[in-house]
Symmetry: C2
Subunit: 300 residues, 2 copies
């Protein structure tokens, strides 16, 4: 079933121990919608400025990502982020962030063709934007949101409102702690469930991820890799593949959730093997399935 | 097949957010040999002072741990450790450590009945002690050692010598980094394999553990628990159960290693549910198998 993703399409300037890239393709909506496209019909909502490179849209379309919902505002500038990774690449610092065309109060324009999309992923954007999107479409079968420290700290009230309107939340362990005050991820997850979502996925970077609902918990370790070139977008690719796989399965059975966690982990591991989407753009479903099968074999 | 464990039998004074215990039963040899006893015939080598409580030996014997190798030196004092855990219990500080009867140059007395034991686990002790033990027994089928920062920092030469004489090393991620200078656990593991061992198990606390050999890798997440009362001995219980399960299987096949990782994780999770061995002493193999089966179900 089709998946609608809302998130940023951005220019990223990246520095890692392996090199440097200037104004490369990035953004949570880009990574997530691209990752989802391996599993299901993938639709993107976002906004870019007049400086947006058409070839970046071409790259997304080459994987079938539907960009009818990607608005262009000719007189504004595309969202820009630059960052630097350290050491083992678990640490990064943001050098510059310019929201530009995608502000905290950005209200998306939703094409009619998107309005009945059954699966919705609210990528890393403002809760105000997310609620506006939900208000302008038919009630979906499943709505899952991502969030981040910026909104937890600065738009808590709006975020808490959003949490009452979604089925699932995907966060990393630091965000879960920031939102709930709990350091143990299980305690944090239980508190998040009390805020509205029926399930929460907690990502723990190189340590894997967990899905927790009232009566269920599923665990996946991280894919063991010695080949991390650029971690940018790993969390977004994880979330996009998770949602794409759920949309492909069409339900939240134990098997579907476990499969989605497995695919999310594998897709994220492929994404980090190159800067931006340099490696990711050449990934195939066959390659994902092959790595997923290998990954299954090394799990107890 | 029988397993011989060498390690400390000690008094632990413990403080966690859940309470306080004074001079309770502890020590790497105690936790490891007790954990192994669920899976195989378990023999302990160690040394205690004249102040050792006979009921602590009784507790170990109640699970069938063979204590013929537990020497008593009437005029000396038992090893003593006191420590305090913080917050989420991932951090601890040592308040006092007195090696006492078990010094860095302790040479074990090995009973004849132990000398042909096929599986050997060298618990958290001095590499000098470990090498002396290996020199006084017939060549075992499998020798695995644990180590810690104290020996990595202070007895590096002796430790490197030990590494050439063992089949496997069990360490936590911090120790692996300290030993190799590598922060990524896969890079660290590869360097450790170059030092001698054919495999390395890297424990990552609440994030699970990995087994790595030249051509294999197996992963297990940590058992998700909201019920950690006292983490003391978790690593030793993990290692003891891992070795006990390997000894029960009798080989290093993929299935045997995965089973050992699973059991190790489950046994460690049961151990931390009470202070010292207060909870652990009442655990049964049936309870371990039940939790192992439940754990399998929540893994992808």
């Amino acid at each position: 079933m089709p998946l609608l993703t809302i998130g940023s399409a951005a220019y990223d300037t990246l520095e890692t121990p392996f090199g440097f890239r200037e104004r490369s393709l990035g953004g949570s909506g880009v990574y997530a919608s691209f990752a989802a496209s391996f599993f299901t019909e993938s639709r993107l909502i976002g906004v870019v400025g007049g400086d947006w490179k058409p070839e970046y849209s071409g790259l997304l379309r080459s994987r079938g990502v539907d960009l009818e919902g990607l608005e262009t505002r000719e007189n504004e500038k595309t969202t820009y982020w630059s960052g630097r990774y350290f050491d083992d690449m678990n640490q990064r610092e943001t050098l510059l962030f310019e929201g530009n065309v995608m502000s905290e109060t950005y209200i998306p324009i939703v094409p009619d063709s998107y309005k009945n999309t059954p699966y919705v992923f609210l990528g890393n954007g403002s809760p105000v934007t997310d609620v506006a999107l939900l208000d302008s479409i038919a009630k979906p079968k499943l709505v899952v949101a991502d969030t981040m420290d910026f909104y937890i700290n600065g738009m808590k009230k709006e975020l808490l409102d959003l949490l009452t309107k979604i089925d699932g939340l995907i966060v990393n362990d630091g965000e879960a702690t920031l939102l709930t005050g709990e350091r143990n991820f299980l305690f944090a997850a239980k508190k998040i469930l009390e805020l509205g979502p029926k399930f929460v996925v907690i990502k723990r970077g190189e340590y894997g991820a967990s899905y927790i609902s009232e009566n269920e918990i599923y665990l996946v370790p991280a894919y063991p890799t010695m080949n991390v070139v650029d971690p940018t977008g790993a969390g977004d690719a994880f979330a996009g593949a998770f949602m794409g796989s759920l949309a492909e399965s069409g339900d939240l059975s134990a098997e579907s959730v476990k499969t989605a966690l497995l695919y999310a982990t594998v897709v994220a591991s492929l994404n980090v093997e190159g800067f931006s989407l340099e490696r990711f753009q050449f990934v195939t479903r066959a390659e994902i399935d092959k790595r997923a099968a290998e990954f299954r074999k090394i799990l107890v």
